[in-house]
């Protein structure tokens, strides 16, 4: 202290103090002025959430409850996360057309912005799975094709068919086709487990493996019909149908022609 007070009257003391004071003021100002900026972002966010809430109240609350708490006919959405909302609403499954066995894929009712607002609102209720970003979804770079096929046959083919064409489940429920589905929606389906589908957590199937599955699905989608018309890639049923109609039909036609008497 003594040492410091010795320089009290040093000629550099005043300018030094000034520099310190200015620094202090500047720092204080910048800290103080940063707060209003952050709150502006939060304000924008809350505006999106608010928009989502309004959309939710109009379009969803009659079944899912005014606070997304669920009801007799629809589950609670608290904690389902943005990924769930994005999958269900952006693929047109929600809102449901009717209360039949299962929500089916159709033209989405909401625009992408509205979907984002709904997702933000539901995500604001409680933490849940988030929508995977584009950087995460680079399946072409991060996925492995053959491994994806192996994973698909191990985990997905039992419901979605060997070529991802979909399949029947009990009581009229079904596993839809995975052909023509956006990669982000495939990913979301795996992490949220919509409808009859189980959740494939990151411990069961790592994010990288999920990308491999998506890569294989996209390759299967793009694969040309290698042996001629694919007949729906559903196995021998359509093959049997073809041979019993067109196949034997052509041959019987020729047989009738051969057995006709020359006129």
């Amino acid at each position: 202290m003594k040492r410091l007070s010795r320089y009290r009257r040093h000629r550099a003391a005043a300018p030094t103090l000034l520099v310190f004071a200015l620094l202090a003021i500047g720092t204080t100002f910048s800290v103080a002025s940063a707060t209003p900026n952050k709150s502006a972002l939060a304000l924008a966010r809350s505006a999106v959430i608010e928009e989502g809430k309004q959309l939710f109240l109009k379009g969803c609350s009659s079944c899912h409850g005014l606070n997304a708490e669920g009801g007799a006919i629809a589950p609670s959405l608290i904690g389902v996360g943005a990924a769930s909302v994005d999958f269900q609403v952006a693929t047109g499954r929600m809102p449901m057309a009717d209360m039949s066995t299962q929500a089916m894929r159709k033209e989405p009712v909401y625009t992408p912005e509205q979907v984002a607002a709904l997702a933000a609102y539901v995500a604001s209720l409680a933490p849940g799975p988030e929508i995977p970003g584009d950087e995460l979804l680079n399946y072409e770079r991060d996925g492995s094709l053959a491994e994806g096929g192996e994973l698909f046959r191990n985990n997905c083919a039992m419901c979605h068919n060997f070529a991802g064409q979909g399949g029947a489940l009990t009581q009229g429920k079904y596993a839809p086709t995975v052909m023509g589905v956006e990669p982000v929606h495939i990913y979301e389906a795996m992490i949220t487990g919509p409808q009859s589908m189980p959740v494939f957590s990151d411990k069961t199937i790592t994010p990288e493996e999920k990308l491999s599955i998506i890569k294989w699905i996209k390759a299967a989608e793009a694969e040309p019909a290698l042996g001629g018309a694919s007949l729906g890639r559903v196995g021998p049923v359509t093959e049997g149908l073809l041979v019993w109609t067109l196949g034997i039909g052509m041959l019987i036609g020729v047989a009738v022609w051969l057995a006709m008497k020359a006129r």
Binding site: A163, G172, Y174, V234, V237, V243, G247, I248, A259
Partner: protein, 528 residues
């Protein structure tokens, strides 16, 4: 005589002097075959068999029937670096690396489907026209044998590539073997050389598929055709056609040309379909691993009805003397098919027992003139069709937005209820058609021309049928039911009364017809 004719004559003479073939050829090349499109259905099966032999031989050059594990390093990238059996890898190589291999695989598989379709359609023709009657019962049994072996051969064939779908089928076959009471487990171990899947099964079924069964097929087909040759072909009734003659074209040159041409047509159609439509895309199924399964796993259609029966069976199981009896597999997987094939093979004998008809028949029946037989056939087909539909229940549910459970219940109830309904409806339709034939003979064809008579009455002109047509509609036999009195002449009850009662009931049902037009009826019409 030109030089060419002289050379041909000399060659023929040279051969004849050493083999004596001329007389035999002269006799047999002039053999007459009746002409009808339905007589060509069996030929489709024969030609498909030849196509199967040719294309199958091609495939054996590259197929490696081994379950040894290999790492795939071929062209098809979605499977690159995966472990798989040599059988599967070599099938992939045939599909993607052997020139024309995929086409040959597809020709082979489509030809197999054609083979089975043709057998079934041919069987239907033989059944519904009564061509199985004496003296052709043995040939009928050989035919049923070919059908049964065809199902087995087809199943073994599509099991060879060891892909995910066929492995699933083998797993089900193993389960059905295991369901045989007491010895099932041992039989399964015997067949697979240990626990499923093991490494013995593919090599074993390969030898059965390419050697044992084709040899049996060749033998049976040869006997089948020799019997047709020896017994002569049946023919449809018509003017000039009797039980003692065959009306048609000689083998040489007309039938030779037609049959030879038809072979190329069958080959062409099979190749066309194989070129434009994919079949059994094993690269999509993936290699077989017991831990994997695909939704909508299906057998080929000729196994589909068996699969359908198993799918609809309610879960019944008993535990007797330390053995598990899986009725849900045993009944639909073994007992019902066993009964069906036995009944099919014995049908000629059952029918002749019911009718008491022990005579030879070379003239065919029109299906309507044997209402009972036609109705039994419709009943059996309905049963099989319901089972087949249930075999594809998951695909049907998925494609038509139906519930798999509802389809299963439809099949469970339908397989019991629908066949009798089909029987009754078919029989009624047959008898109505007989009535309409009778109407046609008695009153002629309605021409639609209305004439007003001088006193104002309108009448429609009926055109009388040609004598040929009348012959066709009236030439068939209508035998009454068997007379099997319960009490014999001395007033004593016969010991076989119950059996006779059953026989006479069936005989009566069999003899239910609309009476055909007789000469007496026509005379009455003349007098009007």
């Amino acid at each position: 005589m030109t030089a060419r004719e002289r050379i041909a004559g000399n060659v023929a003479n040279y051969v004849d002097e050493r083999t004596g073939a001329a007389a035999w050829m002269k006799k047999n090349l002039n053999k007459v075959f009746p002409d009808h499109w339905s007589f060509l259905l069996g030929e489709i099966a024969l030609y498909s068999f030849i196509i199967l032999l040719l294309s199958g031989t091609f495939l054996t050059f590259w197929f490696d029937p081994s379950q040894r594990e290999v790492i795939y390093d071929g062209e098809y990238q979605p499977l690159a670096g995966l472990e798989m059996s040599a059988a599967y890898a070599s099938t992939l190589d045939i599909s993607f690396e052997i020139r024309g291999g995929l086409l040959m695989r597809q020709i082979h598989h489509w030809a197999a489907l054609f083979f089975m379709v043709a057998i079934v359609v041919h069987l239907m023709r033989v059944y519904f026209t009564g061509a199985f009657r004496k003296p052709r019962e043995f040939n009928w049994i050989i035919g049923v044998g070919l059908l049964t072996l065809g199902i087995v051969e087809g199943f073994l064939g599509y099991s060879l590539p060891d892909d995910l779908l066929s492995g699933t089928g083998i797993r089900i076959a193993e389960a059905i073997i295991q369901a045989i009471p007491v010895v099932g487990t041992y039989l399964a171990f015997f067949a697979f050389g240990g626990a499923f899947p093991g490494e013995a099964f593919i090599p074993r079924i390969f030898i059965v598929h390419v050697l044992i069964l084709p040899a049996i097929f060749l033998a049976l087909i040869t006997v089948h055709l020799m019997l047709v040759w020896y017994q002569k072909h049946t023919q449809y009734p018509g003017p000039g056609r009797t039980e003692k003659n065959v009306v048609g074209y000689p083998l040489m040159p007309v039938y030779m040309a037609k049959a030879g041409g038809f072979f190329f047509v069958v080959f062409g159609v099979t190749t066309f379909i194989a070129a434009v439509a994919s079949i059994n895309p094993i690269w999509l199924y993936g290699p077989y691993t017991p831990g994997q399964i695909s939704a909508g796993s299906q057998p080929d259609w000729y196994m589909g009805w068996l699969d359908g029966l198993v799918r609809m069976a309610p879960p019944l199981e008993s535990y007797l003397f330390g053995y598990t009896i899986s009725w849900n597999i045993l009944i639909p997987g073994l007992i019902i098919p066993g009964l069906m094939f036995t009944g099919l093979a014995l049908y000629p004998f059952i029918e002749s027992w019911i009718t008491g008809d022990k005579r030879e028949h070379h003239l065919l029946d029109r299906p309507r003139n044997a209402p009972n037989r036609t109705a039994i056939g419709a009943m059996a087909l309905t049963f099989t069709l319901v089972a087949l539909i249930n075999g594809g229940n998951d695909i049907i549910a998925q494609q038509f937005d139906l519930s798999i459970n509802q389809i299963m219940w439809f099949s469970r109830i339908g397989i019991i209820v629908l066949p009798p309904i089909a029987f009754v409806i078919t029989k009624r339709i047959c008898i109505s058609l007989q009535r309409s034939d009778r109407e046609l003979v008695l009153h002629g064809k309605e021409t639609g021309r209305l004439v007003r008579l001088p006193h104002g009455e309108f009448v429609e002109i009926h055109e009388e049928l040609s004598p040929e047509k009348k012959w066709l509609l009236t030439s068939h036999e209508q035998n009454g039911p068997l007379e099997l009195p319960e009490i014999d002449k001395s007033g004593v009850r016969r010991p076989s009364a119950i059996r006779n009662k059953l026989r006479s009931r069936m005989s009566q049902a069999n003899a239910e017809v609309a009476p055909k037009v007789t000469g007496k009826d026509l005379n009455e019409i003349e007098h009007h």
